[in-house]
């Protein structure tokens, strides 16, 4: 075993140190470049979906330099997970591990254009979707007996300080805490802001901008 390791190391060491370092750095650059390329591509080619946004704490929205975003589908009742019972009966323990994938289906909301609303969720990838439907591939962060909390990678919005403060002023006062429902709800007559997402066929989503008072506040590019 040690002899094999030594032979392997001698082979590696036979290569120039510069060459090895450049190989490592190129690999690092490919990983980082890949992240950028994947996001840019998603933003350019993904289907646009606008979902209503609900802040975790509207009094202090931009805590630090990012806002924590909350959606209608951030907490899902188990009754709205279509294959929940089926999997509970047949799928075994693994299907119910606290962490794992959940597929959130969104449908265009004719009552509230241009928003898309949460339709239902699935623990297995959806086989068929309607024309006005998309799905998000999310992670279950934890679940109890009645609800599942999900994380879709679109829960943080970073903004420079001035912009963050401006946005916070604009968004403040649009929600109130509903004791009966135990969560933030929009104020009567207030226009609910939204988050513009780009979603690809695999269910990956990226934040493309914010939607406030009928205006699109788009996230600028790399420059």
């Amino acid at each position: 075993m040690m002899r094999m390791l030594r032979q392997l190391w001698q082979g590696v060491e036979g290569l120039s140190a510069w060459l090895r370092m450049v190989a490592v750095l190129v690999a690092f650059t490919i990983v980082i470049g890949g992240m950028i390329w994947q996001r840019m591509r998603l933003l350019q080619t993904g289907r646009e979906v606008i979902v209503p946004m609900r802040p975790v704490d509207p009094r202090d929205l931009f805590r630090g330099h990012y806002a924590l975003l909350n959606y209608d589908f951030s907490r899902i009742e188990t009754s709205r997970v279509r294959d929940f019972d089926q999997l509970r009966n047949n799928g075994g323990r693994s299907a119910f591990s606290p962490s794992g994938t959940i597929f959130v289906v969104l449908r265009k909301d004719p009552a509230r254009p241009p928003f898309w609303a949460f339709s239902h969720a699935l623990l297995k990838p959806p086989e068929k979707l309607g024309r006005e439907e998309v799905f998000l591939r999310c992670k279950r962060s934890w679940f109890g007996a009645r609800a599942i909390f999900v994380n879709c990678g679109i829960e943080r919005f970073y903004a420079p300080k001035e912009r963050a403060l401006k946005l916070e002023r604009e968004l403040r006062g649009r929600w109130r805490f509903d004791r009966n429902r135990g969560r933030m709800v929009p104020e009567e007559g207030a226009r609910v802001p939204g988050v513009i997402l780009r979603v690809n066929a695999r269910g990956e989503a990226a934040i493309a901008g914010l939607y406030v008072d009928g205006k699109r506040i788009l996230v600028d590019g790399l420059l």
Binding site: M2, L5, R6, W9, Q10, V12, E13, A17, W18, R20, M21, A23, V24, L25, A27, F28, T29, V31, I32, M35, I36, R39, L43, H65, Y66, G92, R93, S94, A95, F96, S97, P98, S99, K139, S141, W142, F143, G144, A145, N151, G153, I154, E155, R156, F157, Y158, P160, K161, E162, A206, I207, V219, D220, G221, L222, L223
Partner: protein, 495 residues
């Protein structure tokens, strides 16, 4: 020499022998030819740590042929380069975080990518020119900059992220860097990141969903996170291949932490979890220590590398946990006191005062008895004087910056002294103090991010300048020594 490093005792002996031979040649007792023959013979019969496992770059070979004072100096300057790398990396990350708003996205990315490539190429250059130890700090910087770059891209594109995947990618990158470049610092970083990945994964599997509940959710999966064993095995292989003692310590630490965390989540409820921790942890430590005792007797030299870390860390694990239970309340009270106390009261407290003044007196005694040089005694004397005069100094001299700076100076001094006199205890004490000082400075400067970045960058640059200065000085010393040795002895004796 075929590139292997000498056992420390032989290394010291060869150094003394060379010094004596030079003196005898100068005094005309022996001929230069005989001196050279004797030195070559002694070198050929010296015990090598491991010829095949060590690096054989030109820098390494040159280093192994250097006289011992140069080697010691090399280690000291190499250590300074490593610490400078750590500080610069911390400074770079804090600086980028603090100036996030004022930079364009592309500029931010260029900063980190520049650090990544610059650090990597500088590391190879340093290694080619000066040896492995010099390059370690830069390898570490490269490994850290890789994670920084990924975090920046995540912020640019509002990716709220998957910490598990992020830590896994980062650790794989750092480990690959360590394995391909033979860098111990990058390997240590890679393994610690892999441990972080595993702990997050275990947490996601077990803790996160049910910390707010009284019982485990239905059907939750088994808590053991086996994939962690893969990076652990890679790190263990690297440890054995290169005989890296620091990595051996971290391998044992990571194994114990992983076992502990996995066992901690075995219980069926939060209360049961705590009980299982209390019940099981001392046994984990005991088992590790016993394994260490068994390995210490093994004939395989590579396996013996883990014996001491297992014995020490296992024992500390077992006893430390028992003590923690026994003195938990006491420790909480002490920590509360410490957190509440301000610096002047803390710094002018009775025990630190006594300790530092005693250190200053010891240093003075060392100078008087000629065990250490006057310049070696300077840092503790300065610190002791500062400590003694705390009530009388003007306010700016009692600031946290001065205290931090002096602590860092004291730490570097302890490490230097440890290397100079080959006292591992002093070296470790210096390392521990350095870590504590950096951590303390970080804690007290939280909230003023720019200040933290400035401090780390400043300290890192200062250390880098000192290290470069030390390097130049050693090169000059070596040249001078070479010139002196080249002079024929009878010429020296001629009036």
């Amino acid at each position: 020499m075929n590139g292997g490093e000498l056992a420390p005792s032989d290394e010291a002996y060869l150094g003394r022998l060379r010094a004596d031979l030079s003196r005898w040649v100068r005094e005309g007792r022996i001929s230069p030819q005989l001196a050279e023959d004797l030195a070559r013979d002694a070198q050929a019969h010296a015990r090598q740590v491991d010829a095949s496992a060590s690096s054989t770059t030109s820098g390494e070979s040159a280093r192994s042929a250097m006289p011992v004072p140069r080697q010691r100096g090399n280690r000291m300057v190499g250590a300074m380069f490593t610490l400078a790398g750590v500080l610069l990396a911390a400074g770079l990350l804090s600086f980028v975080a603090a100036n996030w708003d004022s930079m364009s996205r592309l500029a931010r990315l260029a900063w980190v990518m520049g650090g990544l490539w610059g650090g990597g190429l500088l590391a190879v250059w340093l290694r080619e020119k000066a040896g492995r130890l010099y390059a370690e700090g830069m390898f570490l910087l490269t490994a850290l900059a890789f994670g920084g770059a990924m975090a920046l891209v995540a912020q640019i594109f509002h990716i709220s992220g998957d910490p598990e995947r992020f830590l896994l990618t980062w650790s794989m990158g750092a480990l690959a860097l360590g394995a391909l470049m033979g860098s111990e610092a990058a390997s240590v970083a890679g393994l610690l990141l892999a441990l972080g990945w595993s702990l997050v994964a275990i947490g996601e599997l077990n803790l996160a969903p049910w910390v707010f509940m009284t019982s485990r959710p239905m059907g939750s999966t088994a808590p053991w996170h086996w994939p962690f064993l893969l990076p652990l095995l890679v790190a263990a292989g690297l440890t054995m291949l290169h005989r890296w003692r620091w990595l051996a310590q971290v391998v044992v630490f990571a194994l114990l932490a992983w076992l502990t965390y996995n066992l901690a989540t075995l219980g069926a409820s939060q209360r049961a979890m705590m009980e299982s921790v209390f019940r099981l942890l001392p046994f984990v430590g005991l088992l590790a220590a016993l394994t260490g005792v068994w390995l210490a007797r093994a004939s395989n030299e590579e396996a013996r590398l883990f014996a001491i870390p297992l014995i020490w860390q296992g024992t500390l694990h077992a006893w430390g946990f028992s003590l923690l239970v026994a003195t938990g309340d006491l420790m909480r009270r002490v920590l509360r006191e410490l957190a509440g106390g301000g610096l002047p009261q803390e710094a002018s407290g009775f025990w630190p005062h006594v300790a530092l003044v005693a250190l200053a007196l010891l240093a003075l005694a060392g100078v008087v008895t000629r065990r250490i040089a006057w310049w070696e005694a300077l840092p503790p004397l300065v610190f002791g004087l500062w400590q003694w005069g705390l009530p009388y100094w003007p306010a700016f001299l009692v600031s946290k910056w001065v205290a931090g700076g002096l602590s860092l100076m004291l730490a570097v001094w302890l490490m230097a002294l440890g290397l100079e006199h080959e006292r591992k205890g002093l070296w470790r004490l210096g390392m521990a103090l350095f870590g504590l000082a950096v951590f303390w400075l970080y804690v007290v400067t939280i909230g003023s991010l720019l200040g933290t970045a400035g401090f780390f960058l400043g300290a890192g640059l200062l250390l880098l300048v000192l290290a470069l200065g030390g390097w130049r000085f050693l090169a000059w010393l070596e040249r001078r020594q070479g010139e002196m040795n080249a002079q024929p002895p009878h010429e020296e004796e001629a009036p």
